[in-house]
């Protein structure tokens, strides 16, 4: 069972309280971009076996969106953090590295 803590309201709950929103920090490409960039934005996903950055919504709670850094193999959540950021902040990276020293931030 996956449990998450909402960084917006501080409530901890199990997954049925939340709604998964897919991969986080996607770079948005629109009109004028190359076909490849647009395809990557729409469909190509990291889908890592290990540390994943993703979007969540506290659907049955405060209703706010947030981000989570989570292991897709163990469901361990390293950190949840604000949705108002384009990349994982330094303290989140540090929290992951503390648990998974061999992990590198994907390019």
């Amino acid at each position: 069972m996956l449990t998450l803590e909402c960084p917006c309201c501080g409530v901890r709950g199990e997954e049925t309280e939340f709604h998964g929103g897919g991969e986080a920090h996607l770079k948005r490409f629109g009109p004028g971009s190359s076909d490849a960039e647009f395809e990557t934005y729409l469909f190509t996903r990291e889908n890592p076996k290990g540390v994943n950055f993703e979007r969540w919504r506290h659907a049955n709670g405060c209703g706010k969106w947030f981000h989570a850094a989570r292991c897709t193999m163990t469901l361990e959540v390293f950190a949840t953090y604000s949705a108002q950021t384009y990349e994982p902040p330094a303290d989140v990276i540090a929290a992951i590295k503390a648990k998974r020293p061999e992990w590198e931030m994907p390019a």
């Binding site: 997954e15 049925t16 729409l42 190509t44 996903r45 990291e46 890592p48 076996k49 897709t72």
Partner: protein
């Protein structure tokens, strides 16, 4: 390979079953093969089988990190049907379904194909329209299906409640030659045939890297050392993204856990497969008498092979409405498999950005039924380097070109 037959059973019975030989060999890997296939699930093994049978390519290794058939092939609810809406899907799934009809004879291995009939319930007006449209499309595609009314549904499956309070049964899309097969036997039968053709099935051997030179594949790093190859086929279902990452590219694919459960065995009460997509439940009865029930997919990426607990309740709740007798059943076992879901919910049989590396994946929640057709098409792609008619529409380039195969309506549910 000694043939299995009535005579063989009699002969072995007379000598206390001492003479059965191993169904397949378990050799150590050679230095190099013409083709290395990663993943000994149904699709990988079928690819190997048709490489040998249709193209005479037998210097092949099938490399498997666990045991053969231990992935989704051994974890699914074994529904076989080909009543899809779009032409490319109908073509490959019907090819597969028709190959299932003679698979036991072709492999000399009883895969227990049971064309008991598959019915997809229409429980909303939109579903009636959708299924009538599919039945019409199937008529053009040469796939035998029909839309039937609620009385016929009740006749074919008496344990269904057709006048439920929320979602009464308004009709169904019925494919009489759809059904089930024994999943393990499909993997074992192919493995035995491949081993007999001189192919090496290497189990307990995980691929950990893809070696390349000048943009072309040269082999794979494994837990049993480097294995060289001229051509590489990745057929690893939920691990496709992971394999692609090893080879330096990414896929339009995400991996999630899909669950199934079985009840305690009971007396025969249902001799068709029923799928109820609106309430999201589907059920058939195994030969042992267990009710085989398909569950839900997790709403987030993961590789746990377990699935979230709350889906069990949701699945059973949905089923009780349509099959009230389920409320008296004890559930026996639950398990999960990691399914590979693509951007348009259709599979990928394709060349990749790496030369001589090919991928077969993205069958998601519904690729048991397609195993022989997929292997047929994948073998052609690997042997010729270019896709044949069955695979052509399933290339990776469709995501760049916006040429999707929109089957999510027909196949969005887990089966």
């Amino acid at each position: 390979m000694k043939r299995y037959s009535l005579f063989a059973i009699a002969r072995e019975a007379a000598r206390y079953h001492q003479g059965w030989e191993k169904a397949w060999a378990s050799p150590e890997p050679k230095k190099k093969y013409d083709v290395v296939i990663v993943g000994a699930g149904g699709h990988g093994l079928a690819t190997a089988f048709y490489l040998g049978k249709n193209f005479g390519i037998t210097n092949v290794a099938i490399v498997e990190k666990g045991w053969l058939g231990g992935g989704n092939t051994g974890r699914n609810t074994t529904i076989i049907r080909s009543n899809y809406l779009q032409d490319p899907s109908a073509a490959i799934y019907e090819k597969a379904r028709s190959l299932y009809e003679t698979m036991s004879q072709d492999l000399n291995y009883n895969v227990m194909f049971s064309p008991r009939g598959v019915m997809m319930l229409a429980q909303t007006e939109a579903e009636i329209r959708g299924y009538k449209r599919t039945a019409q499309a199937n008529a053009y595609q040469g796939v035998a299906t029909e839309f039937i009314g609620p009385e016929r549904v009740k006749e074919l499956c008496p344990i269904i409640r057709i006048d439920g309070p929320r979602y009464p049964v308004l009709g169904a899309l019925w494919q009489e030659r759809g059904g089930t097969a024994r999943h393990d036997a499909v993997a074992w039968g192919y493995a035995r045939a491949c081993s007999d053709m001189g192919m090496d099935i290497i189990q307990q051997c995980e691929v950990t890297g893809v070696t390349r030179e000048g943009g072309k594949v040269t082999g794979v790093e494994t837990t049993k050392g480097h294995i060289g190859c001229n051509k590489l086929a990745s057929v690893v279902a939920g691990n496709s993204g992971h394999m692609a990452n090893m080879a330096g590219f990414q896929l339009p694919m995400e991996s999630v856990a899909l669950q199934a459960l079985v009840s305690e065995p009971i007396k025969p009460c249902m001799d068709v497969v029923v799928m109820a997509n609106t309430v999201h439940g589907y059920m058939s009865q195994s030969d042992k008498g267990e009710m085989v029930i398909g569950g839900g997919t997790d709403a987030f990426n993961n590789y746990t092979q377990r699935g979230s607990f709350h889906h069990i309740e949701e699945t059973v709740r949905a089923l009780i409405e349509t099959f009230p007798m389920v409320s008296r059943l004890k559930m026996l076992r639950q398990w999960g498999g990691i399914v590979d879901v693509t951007g348009d919910r259709s599979p990928i049989i394709s060349k990749t950005p790496v030369g001589n590396m090919f991928i077969n994946g993205g069958w998601g929640t519904g690729g048991f039924k397609s195993i022989p057709g997929s292997g047929w098409a994948m073998a052609e792609l690997v042997a010729k380097g270019e896709p044949g008619p069955l695979a052509a529409e399933f290339g990776l380039d469709r995501f760049t070109q916006g040429r999707f195969i929109d089957e999510s309506v027909a196949a969005g549910v887990a089966h």
